[in-house]
Symmetry: C2
Subunit: 200 residues, 2 copies
Amino acid sequence: MLMEEPQVGTRERLLELSAQLFRERGFHATSMRDIARAAHMQPASIYHHFPGKESILHELMRGFLMELLHSAANASDQAADATGRLAAFMRTHIRLHATRAMVALVTDSELRALKDPARREVVMLRDRYEQLLQDILRQGVQEGLMYVPDVKIASYQLLALGTGVVFWWRPDGRLSLEEIVEQHVGAAFGICGVGRGKRG
Amino acid sequence: MLMEEPQVGTRERLLELSAQLFRERGFHATSMRDIARAAHMQPASIYHHFPGKESILHELMRGFLMELLHSAANASDQAADATGRLAAFMRTHIRLHATRAMVALVTDSELRALKDPARREVVMLRDRYEQLLQDILRQGVQEGLMYVPDVKIASYQLLALGTGVVFWWRPDGRLSLEEIVEQHVGAAFGICGVGRGKRG
DNA sequence: CAATTAACCTAACGAGCGTTCGGCAGGGGG
DNA sequence: CCCCCTGCCGAACGCTCGTTAGGTTAATTG
């Protein structure tokens, strides 16, 4: 026991490299040999850190969703009203989806590849996240600050909006991340009819 | 020559079944044997209709994108102003994405699986489609009917909004397709600031 | 009726897959 | 000093993959 921690754990490096490869080629098109080659080891060595290929995907998804849940809960707790909470939610959602684009895209697009004990857990986490957003919307409607025909559908629209960023955002793009974040907050307000009054 | 057409061509049936399987499991997780089993034939027989697995995906994507382009061009030509064209664009986009959900999801999520002669063609078709939407937005901004900070980003937002429908829509769901379509037209107007005046 | 062709079959190929087995280096603890 | 545990390795397992070769059938054509 009581070893000093390595600078960056092999396990974490494997997770990061896997996310990169899963994003580029997709889960099923990425082989353990691909991951091993990227990490400069033999395929067999990976099994010292993970019980199998699917568990790498599982870990990636669970980690990202927990991070999302944590950030969203924190951010929207500090806001005064529902529009502030919505803005905070969208801001952390998009920031995390942009800065951790590899894992984000994998989490959003490779659910199919997970089999049922792991899959169920990930779906549950995602549902909790959606619930968080729907609570904000319900509060906003009740307070008369937002106008949405249907809370569930509006939440899908907002998540699609924020998640879509991972497909095209590049750190060296034309606009800064914060500009994009604010444009998406604006779009989210537009969808929810913020500042429109009770009748559209 | 001059054979009577079969009721439904084997080729078309293969395309439809492949789309279904690609959607459920993903392209790389679907084998030729899976497709053959679904079509009640032997794997080798598929090669009488397609030169390979990838060409099935290519055909699916090209077909759907051409349908999308055709519908969008037709629909928005019949509208009077930019807001009408935007509404028409979103309506056909969402209707096609809902009624042809299998192919739509595959088209939107399996681009990675295509190699470069085919991939380039599909990307070109998709770019033409995006261009169509961006033209509408530019026109709307010029006419003072819409307010968007950035046309390109707004188009990404609108496409993410409309494409997201395939992930959750079910024909026997709580709301009818037309209700959902109209809620998305509303959301699109919200994003573009329709009916807001030049200053938000 | 002979020739051709479309549509499908059985069988198999080589390659690559996820995974497992047994072993080897090396450093800290008893 | 020896043991054991961690981290890694080389080699191989059984399996499935996309694809191909070659043959059979039934319908169409000249």
